[in-house]
């Protein structure tokens, strides 16, 4: 059952990822990214990360991607056209990308030749209580710093998009 769920949602994630790279219209790309995030959320549930799965949908797919779609619609982004700069990038980039993938795959298979199977319920320490306890005791300083970072982001976004009332 966990294997079936993994296969289905991993396939959806990869197909949506490829669609993000291949399609030419920004709104289609945004929808593809939302599809990837939603299938990743299911994979997090399989890995026992319940809070992270819900937060993925809530924060990423429900807020960040809405912001993206908002900007795409505001700017009325059209289908992009190919330019001559892209041709050189594609020529050099595809072999290097395959090399990156190959190296990563090699490292993974060397490090985990016979790894355990991932089952639903194999890790029960990912509840909200556990994550909350870790955030507020062991990782309190990063938490506080992250909240200041978010404040800086808010101020920065307002300053950048502010229109002087004249």
């Amino acid at each position: 059952m966990s294997a079936l769920l993994f296969l289905i949602f991993a396939t959806i994630a990869v197909v949506c990822g490829i669609s993000l790279v291949v399609r030419r219209h920004p709104v289609e790309n945004a929808l593809a990214l939302i599809g990837t995030m939603a299938s990743l959320s299911v994979l997090y549930l399989l890995l026992g990360a319940q809070f992270i799965a819900a937060a993925q949908v809530f924060v990423y797919a429900g807020a960040i991607m809405v912001l993206f779609i908002f900007v795409i619609m505001l700017l009325n982004a059209r289908t992009e056209y190919k330019s001559h700069g892209a041709w050189m990038a594609r020529l050099m980039g595809v072999p290097l990308l395959l090399a990156l993938l190959g190296i990563l795959g090699f490292v993974i298979f060397r490090a985990f030749p016979h790894s355990e199977e991932v089952r639903l319920g194999g890790f029960t320490g990912g509840t909200v209580e556990h994550v909350g306890r870790a955030i507020f005791t062991t990782y309190l300083l990063p938490f506080e710093i992250t909240s200041i970072l978010v404040l800086i982001a808010i101020v920065g976004a307002v300053v950048l998009a502010y229109k002087e009332l004249d």
Binding site: F51, V57, F58, G62, I69, M73
Partner: protein, 345 residues
């Protein structure tokens, strides 16, 4: 009984009852608004107009199915489907009653109890924005696009007070699972006064309840926050270009969202299936269900009542209300609740 078979039966029952409720909620709304506006409402089709929803469904099914010109066919068809699917999924974690024994099968009156139930519903309600925004974009014309953009800005803005208002009773109930939240409200003060979250110490969540209800109005695009689908201002807002069953999809999604937020308010603030005085739910299955439906029904009536009574807020008034008033009030509510729970609880 097999877990899957039991879940399938429960799901079929819940979806069937929900569909029937959606149809007749529309009838109730038309009758109540008609009476508020000193007229009769539908009373031709069947006794008291009770067959009116069936007539409407038939009409919508048989209408011409238009498709506007433009490249976005997939998005155009996806948007109402997304809207109705997401609002139906949210019903699956709402508890309707305690553990019961139906025909010898012990089960909870709830489709599934996630231990992150509250975050699940908040996540799905934040995905509701997509149905509206994609409908506006895919219709490829001015008024739906404006309606869609305004709707998405409104829904995102009101998600913040909604989330903060939800967080305060979670501090008092100490759990995210909806069933456990109701169970934690099940004691009675002095043997007779219910310990629902609106009445419970250390901080009765009256402000939280009001903030939640107002934010719920905005999240479901109901009056006074229904500028995105305003019938007199933006033609029909984001669903202008939709006809027949696709329009029915948006319509059903709006009522289904209403039912979801009213059920959430009942579970979080009003004690779910618990009776107001102990011992009033002696009847095993029907008793708690009756109290749950009664409380949700009262909240739905408030939704309909407000629709018939209040004028619409202008867009900038709406946004200013969200950011300058609702968000600080919800924050202060959460902070005071947290302080009192830390000191007393």
């Amino acid at each position: 009984m097999n877990f899957y078979l039991l879940s399938a039966i429960k799901a079929a029952v819940v979806v069937g009852v929900l569909m029937l409720t959606l149809l007749y909620l529309q009838w109730v709304e038309r009758k109540v608004i008609a009476r508020i506006q000193v007229r009769l409402g539908p009373n031709r089709v069947g006794p008291y107009g009770l067959l009116q929803p069936l007539a409407d469904t038939l009409k919508l099914l048989l209408k011409e199915d238009l498709m506007p010109p433009g490249p976005n066919r997939f998005l155009y068809l996806l948007a109402p489907f997304l809207a109705i699917t997401l609002s139906l999924i949210s019903i699956s974690v709402i508890p309707f009653g305690p553990a019961v024994n139906v025909i010898g099968v012990p089960t909870w009156m709830q489709l599934t109890d996630l231990n992150i139930g509250v975050v699940f519903i908040l996540a799905l309600s934040s995905l509701n924005v997509y149905g509206v925004v994609l409908a506006g974009w895919a219709s490829n014309s001015k008024y739906p696009l404006l309606g869609g953009l305004r709707a998405s800005a409104q829904m995102i803005s009101y998600e913040l007070p909604l989330g903060l208002a939800v967080a305060a009773p979670l501090l008092m109930s100490n759990t995210l699972s909806l069933r456990e939240i109701v169970v934690s409200q099940s004691h009675y003060y002095g043997g007779f006064f219910p310990a629902w979250n609106v009445f419970r110490g250390p901080f009765p969540q009256v402000i939280g309840f009001l903030v939640f209800m107002i934010a719920a109005f905005a999240e479901t695009n109901r009056v006074p926050f229904d500028l995105p689908e305003a019938e007199t201002e933006l033609v029909a807002g984001f669903h202008t270009e939709y006809s027949s069953m696709k329009f029915a999809g948006f319509f059903m999604a709006e009522y289904s969202n209403m039912i979801t937020v009213c059920s959430m308010a009942t579970v979080l603030f009003l004690g779910g299936w618990l009776p107001p005085f102990p011992g009033l739910d002696v009847v095993p299955v029907v008793g708690p269900l009756f109290w749950f439906l009664a409380k949700t029904g009262v909240l739905l009536f408030v939704f309909i009542w407000v629709r018939g009574t209040m004028p619409r807020l202008r867009y900038d008034q709406l946004m200013r209300f969200a950011w300058s008033f609702m968000f600080p009030v919800a924050m202060v509510n959460l902070m005071v609740t947290g302080l009192l729970v830390a000191l007393v609880g």
